[in-house]
Amino acid sequence: MLRKELVKDLLKSVSIPALGLSLVLGVSLCAFAFRLISSPDSIFAIKGGKILTMAGEVLEGGTVLIRKGKIEDVGLEVKVPPEAKIIEAEGKYIMPGIVDAMCYFGIRPEDRNDLTNPVTPQNRIIHAFYPFRNFLREEGGEERSSELLSGGVTTIYIAPGNRQVIGGQGAVVKTFGERLEEMIVRECASIDITLGDPPKTAFGSKKQSPLTRMSVASLIRKTLISAEEYLKKRAREEEKKGEEKSPPPPRDLAMEAMGMLLRKEIPARVEADLPDDIRTAIRIAEEFNFNLIIDSGAGAYRLRELLAEKKIPVVLGPVSHPFSSGQSVEETPELATLREERQAALLQEAGVKIALASFAYGRGYMGSSSQGRWVLLEAALASAFGLKEEEALKAVTINAAEILGVSDRVGSLERGKDADLIILDGHPLQIRTRVEKVFGGGRLIYQR
């Protein structure tokens, strides 16, 4: 109400020509800034291509019908309404938008870690997410990165850096959208935790705790125990009735965040490469009964039976650069012996659900490893090292979506899901294949 009145006041005070001018300006600015090639209400029928639905079916010469940002139908015989815009895709491949299950896209380097405190579960990465301008190619406005879109990436998981023990809450976002709010798929998608050397060196170099793996683990346990007590205390207060009720204990954002983990509303994403660190993660997850996902996992293949048995998924770093955790080989020589090129295949064959992620920081030098746009190429590499092609594609689409808890919206081409899909000029795992078009939320958002 208040806002409406404000606007009215504002309108009264502005002359009509000025308003008209600013409207024209505004509209043209918007059109320029967003550079959206189509409106959200457009109906598209993508016809004639080879559709990899990633839901089990491959449809040669099928049709995908998009309406109001959602996939209305997909199949070999789809009724196309006359008002639909037809996109001819004969000879092309059509698949869901790529899901990068771990990257730091859109996060300024200095915003990744709060090195004054090893434990900050209350921090949300979404508050540091700035995918605009400098991170882009200076195209202005709020257009998302053509860099990522050129690789077909439409959904990403972003999280705090790996220098803290508990960095905070990761988020799942889209790589396009007119406003930040539109981009968010899950604001709090996980609690991001790091074991092993990165936090140890970050704080140890300042002669601060945690200096050892033991203190890293006990710090996590201590935090979880406090969270358990916090939850109990608040529950007790809520049980009390009437006059017994005392003012509720003050809210504690950190404890609330850890509480989500304990209530299994979100999983813990624990970055761990060495088998001993992975075992520590499993031990703590069992003690406190929370859902666990292993990140990076360069040595996870060694524990593949255990991970399969406990149904713990692994988000692997890029095949070309498996040590995504920033542990240099010089620092940890044992890492060097851990690298198994076939790790993705070994894990998958043992029954572990895997996603292949870029772990990209941005572009170029600072991006340790691969640039976000080459996720498909990393999947191709994994298949060169024994992973079945279908599994490689699942690892960057539906499996990634399931691990991120967003498979109700993205990850496959099925009725009712978000219309995020890509059209490629060849098989997605061939090196010379290029993404030709990207549809995001039912709009054509990238065209080569």
Binding site: P109, N134, R137, E138, S320, H321, P322, F323, S324, S325, G326, Q327, S328, V329, E330, P333, L335, A336, T337, R339, R342, G362, R363, G364, Y365, M366, G367, S368, S369, S370, Q371, W374, L377, A380, L381, S383, A384, G386, L429, Q430, I431, R432, T433, R434
Partner: protein, 450 residues
């Protein structure tokens, strides 16, 4: 050595009856590692991409004393030659990475002074121990060898104006000295944002591009004077020499003098068009042989580069930026055209090579790991480069730019027997390097998957 032993073990398994034969094989093969001079090897039956213009289907390659002796289609295999069956395989020269920092500790890359031409990277090359993942000693660097990389150019980092002298080395050898192809292969310079004082680099660095260029010119002028003084002294008669004092040696000026004498080229890292043009201006003024490194914006001045015959050593197409400070400023990269940098340069007639610019492997390393260089070349074919040119960019062209084409880069009689055998076309993702020979020695063999 480890791999070779495995090979022996395999052969031993064949049975005791063949004992004598094994003894013979071991006797000829093990010394072949230590003294390549003794070996006679025939790689038979593969598709040979010589990179010297010819492709032999079902060809043969004969290696003698660590050198390529014969290569062709119907050549007779000499008696006593150890035969490597390459039926259905691809055979090509070892891959050459024309720019990487492999084997150099990160903190050994840059000095605190902006101009140190006397520094030689070869003195910081440490390929053993932890950096080599092995227990020390002369062991092949599998990380690079499994990508087929047999020769690398390494150089000082890019935080200085003149970092020092780059070197060309092999990735495997019987001892340290045998690794070295060219100890002093170039003077490595950087013209960019990185060496400027404002970018957080040592404050002794000049604060602007203008002052950078002035400092470079000053250094070269001093080297000219130095060279003149030396030449004057050398021209003197013995009597005169006795009377006058011999000019004292100055290592830095000496290094720059070899640049002025065109014994070695200047490798100037420059991405922005203005930096590239400044490099060209410098080379013109002092008549230097120039090679542009990285060159993200080089396609914009391709006609000039072609006309002046200046080659460009490109970075990896997947990660064209070498340092993050570029990100906000480099308009050259922000255009789709830049993806086709390699093919645009080549079509204009510029000689190019594609390099990894890798700092080491994995996590802390930049972008591409050295081993994926072939993949980077393959990537360039997706942006308009022909397959042949992509392969040349990581073999013969790279060798020519590095000034070592008389030894490596193609499979031709007389050249070093640096040979890679692959299980498929070198530019496919699914292809793996199966065997690598350096100086005729089997230095890497891919383990068979069960």
């Amino acid at each position: 050595m480890k791999k070779t032993r495995k090979l022996e073990d395999k052969e031993k398994k064949k049975g005791t009856l063949k004992g004598i034969a094994i003894l013979f094989v071991v006797a000829t093969f093990v010394p072949s590692l230590l003294e390549p001079g003794e070996s006679l090897l025939a790689i038979k039956g593969g598709k040979i991409l010589t990179m010297a213009g010819r492709v032999y289907e079902d060809g043969s390659l004969i290696i003698k004393k660590g050198k390529i002796w014969k290569v062709g289609k119907a050549i007779s295999i000499p008696k006593g030659a150890r035969i490597v069956d390459a039926q259905g395989k691809y055979v090509m020269p070892g891959i050459i990475d024309s720019m990487c920092y492999f084997g150099v500790r990160p903190f050994s890359l840059n000095s605190s002074e902006p101009v140190t031409p006397e520094n030689r990277i070869v003195d910081a090359y440490y390929v053993f121990g932890e950096l080599m993942r092995g227990p020390g000693g002369i062991q092949a660097e599998e990380e690079l060898l499994c990508g087929g990389v047999t020769t690398v150019y390494i150089a000082p980092g890019s935080a200085q104006l003149i970092g020092g002298q780059g070197a060309v080395l092999k990735t495997f050898g019987r001892d340290y000295e045998s690794l070295i192809l060219r100890e002093s292969a170039s003077i490595d310079m950087t013209l960019a944002y990185a060496p400027l004082a404002e970018s957080g680099m040592p404050s002794s660095n000049p604060p602007s591009r203008m002052s950078s260029m002035a400092l470079l010119r000053k250094s070269l002028l001093e080297a000219q004077d130095y060279l003149k003084k030396i030449e004057e002294y050398e021209k003197m008669s013995e009597d005169e020499k006795k009377k006058s004092q011999k000019p004292s040696r100055d290592l830095g000026k000496e290094a720059l003098a070899s640049l002025l004498e065109r014994k070695i080229p200047a490798r100037i890292e420059a991405d922005f068009v203005d930096d590239i043009l400044a490099a060209i201006r410098l080379a013109d003024e002092f008549k230097l042989d120039l090679v542009i490194d990285s060159g993200i914006g080089a396609y914009k001045v391709r006609e000039i580069l072609a006309k002046k015959k200046i080659p460009v050593v490109l970075g990896p197409p997947s990660h064209p930026i070498d340092y993050v400070s570029h990100l906000n400023n480099l308009i050259e990269l922000q255009q789709l055209e830049s993806e086709r940098n390699a093919s645009l340069l080549l079509d204009a007639g510029v000689k190019i090579s594609i390099s990894s610019q890798a700092k080491d492997f994995g996590g802390s390393g930049k972008a591409t790991q050295g081993r994926w260089l072939l993949l980077e070349a393959a990537l360039a074919t997706g942006f308009g480069l022909s397959e042949e040119e992509a392969l040349k960019a990581v073999t013969i062209n790279a060798a020519q730019i590095l000034g070592v084409a008389d030894r490596v880069g193609s499979l031709e009689p007389g050249k070093d027997a640096d040979v890679v055998i692959l299980d498929g076309h070198p530019l496919r993702v699914e292809t793996h390097v199966e065997k690598v020979f350096i100086d005729g020695c089997l230095s890497y063999e891919r383990e068979k998957e069960e």
